[in-house]
Amino acid sequence: MADTRMSSTPVISPPARDESTTVLLRELVAHLRQSRTQLREEWARRITEAKLLTAMTPEEIFAEATAVYDNYLEALETGSIEALETYARNLSERIIPRGVETHEVVGIVLLLRDVLARSLFAKYQQDFHQLNRILDAYEPAANRIANTVAVGFVQERERVIRQQQEAIRELSTPVLPVRERLLVLPVIGIIDPQRARQLTEQLLRGIRINRAKVVVMDITGVPAMDATVANHLVQTVEASRLLGATVIVTGLSPEIAQTLVNIGVDLGKMNTVGDLQGGIEEAERLLGYKVIPITVEAPVATS
């Protein structure tokens, strides 16, 4: 995915490059290379002035600015944004964890665009016609670069968000072995249809892997559920039975009990117990366990 995400979706089609545009751009880039030191400093100064990239030190900003500047000129000259794309992705990976925001990244690229444009104005102010032609060549290329960097940054952020979502989802419904053949599945928080589906998958997989006979699903931490999710819960219980496991549902709130009654659940199929403790006791009974308290006075009883 990493290598196709940007190149496969061109945001702006490359501007048509005829002979004269290429020549103009070459001239333009030569000028910008010459004034490199001065323009780069000007840019870094304006970044600081605009209070962008506050998460980074001035030295870091200057180092990145140099790299961006050179990449920028190369993209202008060759018309190929591939190297810039790679650099932008790499830059995003480095600065996103430090809390750099989208508007800052877009802001600095637009600032560079403006700084360079100003320098062009200054150079060609005598020859209006030539300035126009230069800008015609410069603007589409510069816009495309700005766009590429911004899109790259946003895509990288989205990738991070997706990754985090995945992690949260995996952590949200642990399937816990309690005894041999007994699983507990504590469910906490609102269940939306997507989470319900994932919960089912994890439970069924857990049953297979642990060879569970009884599962206690505790929904004390679920404040409410709608009819769709309640139906899904019933289906999950039935699917577990097809794998040979009994599901005991515990901790139903009055609201959820009402929902289940309203959708007309067949209570013969649903095994419910008031709380988690009762559920585990019932599960142990089904599995043939008997728990005997060990007291100091009485000798240890054997069953």
Binding site: L204, I207, R208, R211, A239, R241, L242, L243, G244, A245
Partner: protein, 123 residues
Amino acid sequence: MAVPILKQRDYLIANIQAALTDDDLRKLRDALVAQVGEFRSRGVIVDVTALDVMDSFAVRTLRDLAHMSRLRGAETVIVGIQPEVAFAMTQLGLTLEGVATALDLEEGLAYLDRKTKRKTTVR
């Protein structure tokens, strides 16, 4: 594709190896019900581990098999339904009601041993 039926003690074991046509399923059902009488079997196990689809016909045929063999004196247990298959079945409302299910062959045998109250020695 014919399904081999193994006889193990009082039980018949049918291990489905690949997707079956409706006709194969019917043949399997008839063969099992016939053999229950022939071998005086007390239990039937159908292993569906290899199936990644269970349609309404398959579910109905398996349910009929369970009911028919019970009438002839044998308990039936379906073993090895895959998690995805199980969930797809419940979503389609095909829940094999009144038919015993178990995780795998071993569980199925344990279930039948319990159900038929016969002490058997494994090992």
